[in-house]
Symmetry: D2
Subunit: 204 residues, 4 copies
């Protein structure tokens, strides 16, 4: 296998990229100016040293002055009584963009699939359990399950509820689910019954 | 223009149908058995006499024993303190399918477009105003705006609120909007900020 | 079942129409003016009497002065040495729009599916065989297989070739297939190998 | 801007990649094992030294033993009397996959847009002219215009014909276009008139 083919193989492993687009990426690299090629290669080689996982919420963040925790976890104005558990980093970005939530986060690292739960070990369930037990002694009052509205998301929610049951019961911590209803652009005529039901329940 | 071309023109006026599909419909009619052709023609010719507009909610309903009002409006177990205003008949079907609402309805007959409001006369605004004034004297307590979540739907909501303001203020009738949040199948990462905001507000 | 539901059932049988759009069609009929409803019903009821199948090419055509044959078959300037066999009427429309062909047609009435050939009796194979035998005595020189480029179209082509083999051999009638190559809008990069192969073979 | 953001910016410049997917790529890099990260970075940094432009056909090819020309141009069994001019490397891949052509290629490096021809300098028109003049003295007999079937492709074809006119006239070199007709999957009913016209002309 030539270097060119090896490079294409790496691009094929990029999320959502097939053989044809991987090849286009390789051709794209060939058209870059030398300084750009060097910088891109260097960024890829060293990105692990400039990005770290926050030891509190487990999201990736750029390291700055050897500070371990991410900007959100360090921010003292955030409301420490609330903890939203999400599947992955990009969910946090979406919530932050909405400018609506001022609590903390925890990145679980994946979902618990409804049909195939053997990958549960890859998730940070144990870590979450310890963290919640610790925070429960302080000021944690509400855990928000920030998962997608589909069978896997619901299954993950049930898993988290069981996992944390002892602690949440003992410390009277509330577990809440994100509100359901009509999304932006929803047309009543095409909405499913579950969504309409929630739209009526959550009317205001 | 031949009869065949005339028939195609009628089919082109069917909602969502272009020239090509209209032609296919005409060919389809030619393949029907004689009794079916006769029955279809008769159904079209007489549908107006077997379907009427309910004089209370203004949705179409099949006439049965010369009863004027539709099944929902006649149903005494429906909660007359609630009135949901929708754009069109099919919205009622969607809500009924969800089995979540037990009040009454009113079909406005369209939206008030944000940018072009000259078609407002085609809507049943005046009729609604009278109906609400009348019901307000009885047991009406809540008006639910059941419009789509888009600029026209929101504009129609504002129009209805202004239209009914005097009556709702005088009789302390609440006007509510359908709850917003994550719909079935929504992924947090791809949700817009407004939807995420409502999902957090409506969490439970 | 109410008349309204019956009408919806008829619309559901229209090609490409599902339950939801069928309902919209029924509501559309309710919004038509009385004279339009009457005319549409009458057109549907009588379309069979104003449209006939041409006894030569078997396409539908509007009857005019009790003339049996369609305009194309009656047109003496058309080249009777060529016969294009197509699946359905709308294929003839597409070919006529291109203004490139001056021969005659025959509507087979369907395809011979590759995997399930039990519907072969619904096709006009026998009629075609007789017609070609008759024309072969006159001036028929070329039969053009005007089928879609997919497995069923190719299978139908093979069926026709076998069906007419005796006659075409005896009278030295050529059977041709429509040329393959790059269609309008085709990009070389995304074309399949068979299409590229034909594009090179048919280069000019 | 952090290193992470810089890396995302590079990925945003990849063909067909938006901000969101660029971010996913960056997260993907973070999940790679150390040896993979190092190899990927090294491949990107050095790809220019292992891939070269063939000085004859101008496509990219992996350098092997310091051989300058690509495998196709070096292959003595290829038919040197034919030269297919294409827009880009991936077009050659598609043609080679079809296994139908045994001549040589030339990568023009782009199209001549119908409406905006100021980028013509970026194309290898001058190089092509010299190459054809040289080959014309040897055994070149046919130039095949292998461009997409759209206005820009046709315009590029006209540009090439004018560019090479003197040489092709003097040496009686034929210029051909790829054959047009029905592509795999084409349905007659939906084909445009130009495609149907060519399908009839190229019937066989």
């Amino acid at each position: 296998m030539t270097s060119f083919d090896k490079l294409i193989k790496y691009f094929e492993r990029f999320p959502g990229i097939g053989a044809r687009q991987a090849k286009r990426f390789a051709f794209h690299i060939l058209t870059l100016e030398e300084p750009d090629v060097v910088e891109l290669a260097e960024l890829i080689r060293t990105i692990n040293t400039s990005v770290a996982t926050c030891p509190s919420c487990y999201r990736f963040h750029s390291i700055y002055n050897d500070v371990l925790h991410c900007q959100i976890c360090r921010n003292e104005s955030r409301d420490r009584s609330k903890l939203t558990i999400v599947e992955r980093d990009t969910d946090i970005d979406a919530i932050e963009r909405s400018g609506t939530y001022n609590g903390l986060y925890f990145v679980l690292g994946g979902m618990v699939p409804l049909l195939d739960s053997h990958d549960i070990k890859k998730l940070r369930g144990g870590t979450l359990k310890h963290l919640v037990a610790e925070r429960a002694e302080q000021d944690l009052a509400e855990i928000i399950l920030g998962f997608s509205i589909n069978p896997d998301g619901e299954n993950t929610g049930r898993y988290i509820e069981m996992l944390l049951k002892d602690t949440t019961t003992k410390h009277a911590i509330t577990i809440t689910h994100l509100g359901r209803g009509l999304s932006t652009g929803s047309e009543l005529e095409y909405a499913d019954s579950e969504t309409i039901k929630n739209a009526f329940i959550n009317r205001s």
